[in-house]
């Protein structure tokens, strides 16, 4: 039980440890202006970070500064503003390249987000290659955005979508994966960190096995990049997709990393300006990477904001941030598990930042409404992972998800609010 006494003790312990590791979440919290607001007179306990994260002042300033002093289109003007905008936009690409450990800036394509990045690979990589009877292998814990693009392309090409099941604890069934990985598997799509369960998948092993069978691997990193270190070369994956807004950056901007030789071999995703070298009605020559995949005016302010978010994160001691989030997850899991009738969904050995749960006799939707009245923001529902919910025989779960600015106070607020839910429904 999380009593007032041992909560204080835990807080002291956490603060001590943060001191030692030089990460102070309560100080970092001050960088996020929205968290200073109050809802119904209470400080916001924002525990919906898996849906989207809040933005630090540095990101807001970067977008603002683009609009107030650099606003212009990129890659097309000779004038000063356009050169400034292009320089800022392109420097964000370098920041992203460093962040994910890509060897070449040409391998970093700006998209609207994870969803668009996956659709790009489905349409430009998979669609021209898939033959009838070929297979795409995904997992039961994928987000809809790593399911539906493959369904669309498989249907069109007469290919088969196969699914690796997950265990009761929410881990990938590795034996089944190896069994399902066959001679017809052309592509494997796998989520790095599950948004509904928090499971961290063994992506490196999956990539190795897939490559042995000649399959290409796309990793959905939407929930990973803010919480665990990602190095695409170490993972060995062929494609890696993520969204800026789950990484303390703006909405409407995301990234597709792709291995250069694969990207070179793919036709464009969309046609338009910026993605061409020359156009005549007889023949159009495509631009070089990464511009071939960036048709039209991009989200310039968004890309600059994303660069600022990554710089912000980079200035923090990331190992300490990770430990802080793990500690929050551990404490929240322990505290919530002590509530009668509460069951944690997703108990994988390796997980991060996500705590999904159900409360006997109380629908998640009611939990969400009641605790919102106490200033605690969580997500309830199927988390865009309906097949996974079905696997666990649940229509929905309640999900608390953590970010770097959460503290033990947020966990306490969650715990107390859930006690009130109990009182209402008992």
């Amino acid at each position: 039980m999380l009593t007032a006494g041992n909560a204080l003790e835990l807080r002291a312990q956490v603060e001590n440890e943060s001191c030692e590791r030089a990460f102070d979440a309560s100080r970092a919290r001050l960088d996020f202006p929205i968290l200073r607001h109050r809802i119904r007179g209470r400080e916001i306990a924002y525990l919906d970070n898996a849906a989207t994260t809040q933005k630090p002042q540095a990101v807001i300033d970067a977008e603002m500064s683009f609009y107030t002093s650099e606003c212009s289109n990129v890659h097309r003007g000779v004038h000063t503003l356009s050169q400034r905008a292009t320089a800022s936009f392109e420097s964000s690409r370098d920041v992203v390249r460093d962040f994910v450990g890509a060897s070449d800036r040409k391998e970093i394509i700006f998209t609207r987000g994870t969803t668009e990045a996956i659709n790009l690979v489905a349409q430009s990589f998979a669609r021209p290659r898939l033959q009838p009877g070929d297979e795409v292998l995904i997992t039961e814990m994928e987000h809809h955005s790593d399911i539906v693009p493959w369904q669309l392309v498989c249907q069109e090409r007469g290919a088969v979508l196969r699914v690796v099941p997950v265990t009761d604890s929410g881990e990938l069934e590795l034996e089944a994966f190896h069994r399902l990985l066959g001679p017809r598997t052309r592509l494997v799509g796998i989520v790095h960190v599950s948004n509904a369960l928090g499971t961290i998948n063994p992506v490196r092993d999956v990539v190795r096995a897939a490559h042995d069978r000649g399959a290409v691997v796309l990793v959905d990193g939407a929930q990973a990049v803010a919480h665990i270190p990602v190095d695409v070369q170490e993972l060995g994956c062929d494609f890696y997709a993520f969204s800026g807004h789950k990484l303390y950056g703006p909405t409407g901007i995301g990234v597709l990393y792709g291995k250069r030789e694969l990207l070179e071999s793919m036709p464009p995703y969309q046609g338009g300006g910026d993605m061409i070298l020359s156009v005549t009605f007889a023949k159009t020559t495509y631009n070089e990477l990464p511009y071939k995949f960036e048709a039209g005016t991009p989200n310039i302010a968004g890309a600059i904001g994303l660069g600022a978010a990554i710089r912000y994160l980079g200035a923090l001691p990331f190992t300490a941030v990770m430990r802080h989030e793990d500690e929050l997850l551990r404490m929240a899991t322990e505290a919530l598990s002590s509530l009668p009738g509460l069951r944690v969904i997703g108990t994988a050995r390796r997980k991060t930042a996500v705590l999904s749960f159900v409360l006997e006799g109380v629908h998640p939707h009611d939990i969400g409404t009641i605790i919102d009245l106490e200033g605690v923001a969580i997500r309830t529902g199927h988390h865009c992972a309906q097949p996974l919910m079905e696997r666990f025989g649940l229509p929905a779960t309640a999900r608390a998800s953590f970010g770097l600015y959460n503290t033990i106070s947020d966990v306490e607020a969650l715990y107390q609010a859930l006690q009130h839910v109990e009182e209402i429904f008992r």
Partner: protein
Amino acid sequence: MNAEMRELYQEAILDHNRRPRNRGSLADANRRADGYNPLCGDRIRLFLKIEDEIVKDVSFEGAGCAISTASASMMTQSVKGKSVAEAYALFEGFHAMATDDGERAGDLGKLEVFCGVKEFPARVKCATLAWHTLKAALTQPADSTTTE
């Protein structure tokens, strides 16, 4: 429990959630309709037995949150024995109350406990799911047992 919460989770709602009335299938139903709220995954199946333009019997099956379960339970109680036209008028009255939209024709009696949902936009659909399903069942051709 604070005032806003009491406004939404009134005792009658909690009671109908705990012990839903008219729950289960209806063997001699001559109308049936399914309702689904994709936002929270709530599903309801409604069974009606309509004879001489009167709702002779009604029941529901399904899993949902407290608001949608209680709403379904109380809806079945309030339309049982009513004429089809009266049941349809109740749908319109309930819809107007929950969405705070349109003319309120008059007091809805026990159903007034759902008045609080209009303050919770995310929950309006929960309260109206059973009623929309009722509307679908009522507007089906007679003796039809197909789903919407």
